[in-house]
Amino acid sequence: MSLKFLIVDDSVTMRRIVVNSLRNVGYTDFVEAVEGKEAIEKLVSDDKINFVITDWNMPGISGLDLVKSLRSNAKFANLPILMVSTRGVKDDIIEALQAKVSNYIVKPFTPHILKEKIEQILATV
């Protein structure tokens, strides 16, 4: 399966790190968005995007709101969404899962963890 990732994070550093990590584990196709609104616009305009990696804390539409918004739309109801966040508190993770993220990574992470979670998500799709 050819994967095209949408990386959503307001931090330029984190977007670069996610891209580097994806390249490191063999993925080459990605686009980036700085926050939720831009992410939705890119998803609507680019049908090839089939995997979203999003941060939680962002200005404007947050990662959690982005997930809720996407899940409320039939087109994106089953889109793989991996949340990568500094939030490591149990209640936050449960909130993210209730919003129907496909999996969750707490920062800092290694490319190995990223690959493992992507594969776990793809195994369930």
């Binding site: 670069r16 790190i17 580097n20 990590s21 969750y104 290694t110």
Partner: protein, 249 residues
């Protein structure tokens, strides 16, 4: 009959007035000491006020410095990531070159085999055996592959460590938010103490975008424990979700 009553009432009021004067006489020293206390306190309050005003005016500078630190670390991190990108590209190129060398090695082995078959000469066989011993390709390939894997591993560790920039920038954003709140409180305190304009303070107010979000509890920890805890919650949630789904199916 009414006149004596009126007189009695008048005397009664006069007595009341006398009591008030007597009470006033007792009160005057207290009021005096209160005035003395206030005259001593007002300069002190003015001092506090000017001190708060001065501190408040310095807060935006502190907040700007924090923003500068965030920008500088972000720039430095990006530069390091650029170098890692170059390193990774070089590694990919080295791996490609190694693959080519392997292919050439296979071709060379085929040629040597053919030479052996054609020559059928013990001296030639010995020379080719010596040549193969000198070649030592497999050992060198293993060493180079291990070095590549080590460099990749190190670059992964650098990438992991660089995530501290995002985490500290969130912590600094939280500190900035706190500073902003303190500034607002101090500004309102100044307004309460003295009805002076603080327009000069407002003009320097910290630029915190509305709706900006950060995690004040962002924490840099390389421990696997945090991700293990997340995995455990995710798995438990999935199990319970599966059970719910089964009930509906």
């Amino acid at each position: 009959m009414s006149q004596p009553t009126n007189m009695a009432q008048l005397f009664e009021r006069l007595n009341d007035l006398k009591s008030v004067f007597k009470y006033g006489q007792k009160l005057i020293p207290i009021i005096q000491s209160l005035l003395d206390f206030m005259s001593e306190t007002v300069p002190l309050l003015e001092n506090i006020n000017s001190s708060i005003t001065e501190s408040t005016s310095k807060i935006p500078k502190a907040a700007n410095q924090i923003n500068n630190v965030t920008s500088a670390t972000e720039l430095a991190t990006t530069e390091i990531l650029d170098i890692i990108d170059i390193m990774l590209n070089d590694i990919i190129e080295i791996e490609k070159q190694l693959e080519n060398i392997c292919k050439i090695k296979d071709e060379k082995e085929k040629i040597i085999k053919q030479v052996k078959q054609l020559a059928k000469n013990k001296k030639v066989d010995k020379l080719l055996a010596d040549y193969e011993q000198l070649d030592d390709f497999n050992n060198r390939y293993t060493v180079i592959s291990e070095l590549i894997s080590k460099i990749k591993n190190n670059s992964n560790n650098i990438t992991l460590s660089l995530q501290v920039q995002d985490i500290t920038s969130q912590q600094l954003a939280a500190v900035n938010h706190l500073i902003n709140s303190v500034q607002e409180r101090l500004a309102s305190l100044i307004l309460n103490l003295e009805e002076t304009s603080i327009s000069d303070i407002d003009s320097n107010k910290i630029m915190v975008p509305k709706g900006s979000h950060f995690d004040p509890n962002a924490n840099y920890s390389k421990s696997d424990g945090r991700q293990d805890m997340v995995d455990s919650i995710v798995n438990n949630h999935k199990t319970s979700q599966d059970e719910i789904d089964k009930l509906f199916s």
